[in-house]
Subunit: 188 residues, 2 copies
C-alpha cells in the first residue's frame, strides 16, 4: 500500500484503488471505501457521485488543463500544433502517477462498461478541444479532425506508456505524434 | 411517410423511425413499433434486442464491410491507405439513405445516452480496424493510430454529409482525408 494522503479526497481515492485491487471493483462498496479511508459515506458523496467516478475524476482535470493551454496558445499557431500543445501539456501529470495508472488500467480492462465510460470521456475531451479550436476561428471539418486526431495520439500514447516500465509520457507523445505524421504523409 | 419495406426487419425499422419522429424516441414503446409494422413484439425481439438497437444496427454492417475491405487490400498497401480504402468502401451505403440518416441524427443529437452509444460503436469499429491492421503485420502505435485517425475522418465526413442537402459521402470523405493530411503536414 502506498503512502496515505492527508486530504479527504486523496484518502478516499487511495482507499478505493486499494480495495478495487484487493477485492475487485464489483465487490467494493462505497461504505467499505469510506471505512478504509476513516471517513463517512457522506464525505465520500461530497467528493464523488459514485465509486466509478473515483476512476474518472482525472478526466475533468485533463480536459481543463488541455482547454486552457489551447486557449493560451498564440493565434498564429495552426490548429494541429495548437492541439499538440494542449495534449503535450498534461504529460507530466501522468509521469507522477505511473503505478496508479497501471492499477487503474487493469481495472478498466476487466470491465467493458468502464471501457465505454473511458471512451465517452475521451470523446468529451475531443469535443472540448474542437470547441476551443472553433473559438480560435477554425472551421469544419478541421476543428473536429484536428481534435479527434490529437485525442487519437493521446490514447495511443497512453496505451504505450501505461504498458511500459516507467516511461516518460512526453517522450511517448512525441513519438506518437511523429508516427501519425509518418502514417498520414506516406499514405498518399 | 416513406415507402413501406416488405421484409419484417425493414418494416420494423421503418415503423420505429416514423414513431421516433412523430412521438419522440422516449415516448415510443416496442409494442407500438410492432403494432405500426403490423407484426408482433415477439417478431421485434427476434430482430432487435431493444428499441435503441434499431438505431445502431447499421454499425455492425459498417464494421463488417470495413474489416472485409481491409483484409482484402493488397499487403503492399500502407496502413493508412488500407484504412482509407476500408472507410471509403462504405460511402455508397450512406448515399442511399441520406433522409433516414438525417432523421436518425436528429434523434441521437437530442439524447446524450444515444450519443454515448454512438461513440462506443465508433470505438468498436476503430478497434476492429486496428485488429485488422495487426493481422497485416502493423505494429503499435501505428495500428491503433491509423485506425483511430481513419475513424476520425469517418466521423468528420459523416457530420459534414448528414448536414448537407444531399451530398455524396465519397466526395466528402475525400475532402476530409485531404483536410487531415493538410492539418498534420502543416502542423510541424
Amino acid at each position: 500500500m502506498s503512502r496515505w494522503p492527508s486530504n479527504p479526497r486523496g484518502r478516499l481515492e487511495q482507499a478505493a484503488m486499494d480495495l478495487f485491487v484487493e477485492r475487485g471493483y464489483d465487490q467494493t462498496t462505497v461504505a467499505e471505501i469510506a471505512e478504509r479511508a476513516g471517513l463517512t459515506e457522506r464525505t465520500f458523496f461530497r467528493h464523488f457521485s459514485d465509486k466509478r467516478e473515483v476512476l474518472f475524476q482525472g478526466g475533468e482535470l485533463l480536459q481543463e488543463a488541455m482547454v486552457q493551454t489551447l486557449a493560451g496558445t498564440p493565434p498564429e499557431v495552426g490548429p494541429f500544433d495548437a492541439v499538440r500543445a494542449a495534449i503535450t501539456c498534461v504529460a507530466t501529470f501522468f509521469d507522477e502517477r505511473h503505478d496508479r495508472s497501471q492499477l487503474r488500467q487493469g481495472i478498466i480492462d476487466a470491465h467493458p462498461e468502464l471501457q465505454e465510460r473511458e471512451v465517452a470521456k475521451m470523446a468529451k475531451i475531443a469535443g472540448a478541444l474542437a470547441e476551443g479550436l472553433r473559438a480560435r476561428g477554425v472551421g469544419e471539418p478541421d476543428a473536429r479532425l484536428a481534435a479527434d486526431a490529437g485525442i487519437a495520439v493521446f490514447r495511443a500514447s497512453f496505451a504505450q506508456w501505461v504498458r511500459s516500465e516507467a516511461g516518460e509520457m512526453g517522450k511517448t507523445m512525441g513519438e506518437c505524434f511523429a508516427a501519425l505524421e509518418n502514417l498520414v504523409e506516406s499514405g498518399h
